[in-house]
């Protein structure tokens, strides 16, 4: 047996957290703690980059597979990667160290516990993206609730308790039905191994109900309209690093779940329910964009824009076209980078002014130019300007949508315009205009670490905007095979 590299990727952050657990926290001197956490996550990032290099792009088979008996005769601990999951893992390992650097200013008390929670969270998130067994997937998927609940609840803002409870109970309620479905799949087919399930398929008569059970969980997590209401609360109250993890990675679990499980396991049901997804996605895109226009709180605005962007993602996935699905994946990666960046930019001014209200600001460009330039880049990436990664995703999704359903695509395109409207208006109100607030005159521009984090995020956004080939090449074969498998399944019915 080869070295279990994927398991070590999952375990390493937890080991780091264990180390932190035994380091005593001192008042005012937390550099050791931060460096241990940073070191762990950077090593993890390097391992994941190594995985990407070693990854064979010419096949859609799962690679780096580990398969061990876990509960005898029932569940195997099975993990592996294909072109789709590897990108999400790299996103996770890339965002986490940036989160850890960013806690410098935002988290004042109990830094050690905060970093432990983030590291454990990283383990679970990598686990979700690499699990190849339904039960293992569920385990990681649910376990992530514990650290996130604590992150929002302990280090969050004023209404943190309400938000933490809402977040926890909404997601738990969504996922218990998925557990019923997973156990039912075991009794219907005799296995919970995803690879085997792809081969044998699930009887058509069960598919609709099972699809709905999975949908209930993913819809809450995505979040889709009308169960999106936990997201603005959670985002607004969470500390910056928590919002970043939530927006950049946690939301992607559901999109990933739709591709891996809903499409892969229930092809017939996916066709049946496409109109439902289209409707909900369109409502999410138009409706939440309009809500975003009216927000006075910057974080809330970005949270609603996340819902709209995830609407594009679900729309793209269920076009069941090559471009649509590829676009969705790229959109998720891009949204991961862009929303992380936007939350961090909001975090930067929040740390200085302790206000998230748009009306507090205005005219920032004359006092903090560096900040304003980077903010502009991220705002433009969020609205999908060509040359940023946001454009590639949205463009491919709309292309897929036009192929499948003209009307839906036209309405979704309106959403793009609305996206531009709320993002530009936000930027105008915060950065341009007259400098009215006296306190703003003393505001400091980006310090070294903030500059570093934001540039780290800006680089891939621009790079993949101009040259998306590395992403597309990685996912191409996997997506093609997924669609082929889907079509043969439909044809045989």
């Amino acid at each position: 047996m080869n070295f279990p590299i994927l398991s070590s990727l999952i375990l390493l952050p937890t080991v780091g957290a264990l180390f932190l657990f035994f380091i005593k926290e001192k008042e005012g001197n937390n550099t050791t703690i931060k460096y241990v956490a940073l070191f762990t996550t950077v090593v993890n990032f390097l391992i994941s980059i190594y995985l990407w290099i070693a990854f064979d792009q010419s096949t859609s088979n799962f690679q780096f597979i580990e398969d061990r008996t876990w509960i005898e005769g029932f569940i195997n601990y099975k993990v592996g990667l294909d072109g789709i999951s590897i990108l999400f893992i790299i996103l996770t390992t890339f965002i986490t160290p940036l989160c850890i650097i960013s806690v410098n200013n935002s988290v004042k008390n109990r830094l050690r516990d905060f970093l432990i929670a983030i590291l454990i969270m990283e383990s679970f998130m990598i686990g979700v993206f690499s699990a190849l067994d339904l039960v293992v997937f569920y385990l990681f998927f649910e376990a992530g609730l514990i650290p996130m609940f604590l992150i929002i609840g302990i280090w969050g803002g004023a209404r943190r308790v309400y938000s933490a409870f809402k977040f926890f109970l909404y997601t738990l309620l969504g996922s218990v039905l998925m557990l019923v479905a997973i156990i039912s799949i075991y009794w219907i087919t005799g296995t919970t191994d995803v690879v085997q399930l792809y081969e044998i398929g699930i009887d058509v008569k069960y598919q609709n109900l099972l699809w709905l059970a999975f949908f209930s969980s993913f819809a809450v997590k995505t979040p889709m309209w009308p169960v999106h209401t936990w997201l603005p609360d959670a985002h607004v109250e969470a500390p910056t690093a928590g919002s970043v993890l939530l927006a950049a990675i946690l939301l992607k679990m559901a999109g990933y779940g739709f591709i891996r499980f809903s499409l892969g396991l229930f092809p017939v049901a996916s066709e049946v329910f496409t109109p439902l997804i289209y409707t909900l996605s369109i409502i999410a895109i138009i409706f939440t964009s309009l809500i975003a226009l009216m927000q006075e709180d910057m974080k809330k605005l970005i949270a609603y824009s996340s819902v709209a962007h995830m609407g594009f993602v679900t729309l793209g996935i269920f076009t069941l076209q090559q471009q649509g699905i590829e676009g969705s994946i790229i959109q998720m990666i891009s949204h991961g980078l862009v929303s992380a960046a936007l939350f961090l930019t909001v975090g930067v001014v929040y740390d200085r002014m302790h206000s998230r209200l748009i009306s507090t600001y205005g005219g920032l460009v004359s006092v903090i130019p560096k900040y304003s330039i980077l903010f502009m880049l991220f705002a433009l990436a969020s609205l999908g300007l060509p040359g940023t990664s946001g454009f590639i995703g949205e463009f491919l999704i709309l292309m897929g949508a036009f192929k499948d359903n003209f009307l839906v695509a036209v309405i979704a395109s309106i959403g793009v315009i609305l996206g531009a409207a709320y993002m530009l208006w936000l930027y105008k109100r915060v950065v341009f205009g007259k400098l009215l607030n006296e306190d703003l005159k003393k505001i400091l521009d980006l310090n070294r670490s903030e500059y570093f984090i934001l540039s780290c995020l800006a680089a891939p956004i621009l790079f993949f905007g101009f040259y998306p080939d590395p992403l597309i090449n990685t996912i191409e074969v996997s997506v093609t095979d997924l669609i082929n498998m889907h079509n043969t399944n439909i044809a045989s019915k």
């Binding site: 008996t69 876990w70 509960i71 005898e72 516990d113 039960v135 569920y138 385990l139 649910e142 376990a143 609730l145 514990i146 609940f149 604590l150 609840g153 302990i154 943190r160 308790v161 933490a164 409870f165 926890f168 109970l169 738990l172 309620l173 218990v176 039905l177 557990l179 019923v180 156990i183 039912s184 075991y186 009794w187």
Partner: protein, 472 residues
């Protein structure tokens, strides 16, 4: 000649109880030595039970009125270990209230003896004898802190209601005897058939009595008051040990004498299960006293255990036994935390007393956090697996309604567990609690928390042990 070796543990415990009583009469100030001796007795009994009976497949004694099989030995071991740990972490608490007397270990031993008889019974009379022996000991234990009004009230309430339920049980037994002409479970099983409608009355009476003993809804009313009033260590004993014994008897009744009458009892068990799960979850939300809250949460947990029994399959029984074993560990851990909330000889048991615990006692609150998430059934902690096995068995029988209601009630239940976590982690801190806890208390908390946390690494071990139990 019968093979008395098989009931050596019971004989040994009975003789030790007599010896300890005599010792208490003749020796002054003998509480410490009685405590240690009883611990020793339980230890020896555990070892003997472990050695003697785990090899046996299924043996019967005394005209088949006592049965020793893999289920009885496993449950006896859980009972004994539970009893041992309760006894060992009790002493500080009892000393605080100046009730560190010889009666306490003797009563615990006799109730354990009663439970062992119950667990092994294969006959209505033997079963009833065991039940009464354990109940009488438990009544006294409930009122053990006799200077406190609440404790006396708890004991009296428990006595009256429990006597009533014993009466119902006995009436049910007599009906069953009337129809089958025998008190032996195996013979009853062959004699009964579902044609006789009055027979259903007998079954219902017996099930009501048993449901009372495990405090399933709607026969749960005594539990919150008794749990709140009794001394904390006794509450701990109540929440784990008698439940294990009563569950075993439940299984034995349903799957030996009433095996052919599944149609009659299955709906009853499903109802008890759903009612307990939902009620346990909803009623716990408003509680302010931790012991009361635990009472309601234990009602909920019994609901999940019954869900396994309702399936009428071996997997279901096994999943129930797994559930109760994990539940025992979780409760032990939770009570160990509760016993640590002591400040200057006073114990605190309100939820608000936990406020901000994580600031002053980070380790204790971390343990409590894990235990509570485990009780709520969040993976990857042990409590999740317990529920997972149960619902796996339930879904095998396509009982979707039961599974969905059960899982939805875990979401409701999660709310009140989260509330405690919120109070511990998000609220303002209070004064520090004492840190000089006995070694055994620390030991039981550490071991049980580690078991809960790391159960997911070797989940098959427990399944392996339990899978030897094949009742049907």
């Amino acid at each position: 000649m019968e093979n008395l070796n098989l009931i050596l543990p019971e004989i040994f415990i009975s003789l030790s109880i007599m010896f300890l009583l005599i010792l208490g009469v003749f020796k002054n100030d003998s509480s410490k030595i009685t405590f240690n001796l009883s611990l020793f007795v339980i230890l020896i009994t555990t070892i003997v039970t472990f050695n003697e009976t785990f090899s046996v497949t299924r043996e019967t004694l005394f005209n088949e009125s006592v049965v020793i099989d893999s289920m009885s030995s496993l449950m006896k071991i859980i009972t004994l270990i539970g009893g041992f740990l309760v006894l060992v972490i009790s002493s500080t608490y009892l000393k605080t209230f100046k009730i560190y007397n010889i009666e306490y270990p003797v009563l615990i031993l006799s109730s354990i003896l009663g439970m062992m008889v119950m667990i092994s019974s294969n006959d209505l009379i033997v079963f009833y004898m065991g039940l009464e022996l354990q109940s009488l000991a438990l009544y006294v234990l409930a009122t053990y802190n006799r200077d406190q009004l609440k404790s006396s009230e708890a004991g009296l309430k428990y006595f009256v209601l429990s006597a009533l339920s014993s009466g119902l049980l006995l009436y049910g037994c007599s009906l069953i005897y009337g129809f089958s002409g025998s008190t032996n479970f195996d013979i009853i099983s062959n004699q009964l058939n579902s044609e006789e409608y009055i027979l259903t009355f007998g079954i219902v009476f017996i099930l009501v009595g048993l449901a009372f003993k495990i405090s399933a809804v709607p026969f749960h009313m005594w539990a919150p008051d008794v749990y709140e009033g009794s001394p904390t260590t006794v509450t701990l004993f109540f929440t784990i040990v008698p439940k294990v014994a009563a569950l075993t008897v439940f299984i034995r009744f349903l799957y030996v004498p009433f095996l052919n009458l599944i149609d009659q009892w299955q709906m009853i068990i499903v109802f008890l299960s759903i009612a307990s799960m939902v009620f346990g979850a909803v009623a716990a939300i408003g509680q302010t006293n931790i012991k009361r809250l635990i009472a309601y949460s234990s009602i909920g947990h019994i609901g999940y255990t019954l869900a396994g029994l309702a399936t009428a399959s071996n997997e279901g029984i096994q999943s129930s036994i797994i559930y109760i074993s994990i539940y025992v560990v979780m409760n032990l851990a939770l009570f160990s935390c509760l016993l640590m909330l002591r400040r200057k000889d006073q114990y605190y048991e309100d939820i608000d007393d936990l406020s901000g615990l994580s600031k002053n006692h980070p380790l204790l609150s971390l343990c409590m956090l894990l235990i509570l998430f485990s009780l709520a059934g969040i993976p990857p902690l042990a409590g999740f697996f317990a529920k997972f096995y149960v619902f796996k068995a339930v879904l095998e029988q396509s009982m979707y309604f039961l599974a969905i209601v059960g899982l939805l009630s875990t979401v409701i239940a999660a709310f009140y567990y989260l509330r405690i976590i919120k109070i511990m982690y998000f609220d303002k801190e209070k004064d520090k609690y004492d840190k000089d806890h006995s070694l055994w208390l620390k030991f039981s908390l550490t071991v049980s928390t580690i078991l809960i946390l790391l159960y997911f690494i070797f989940p098959s071990r427990l399944v392996e042990v339990v899978s030897r139990i094949n009742i049907i």
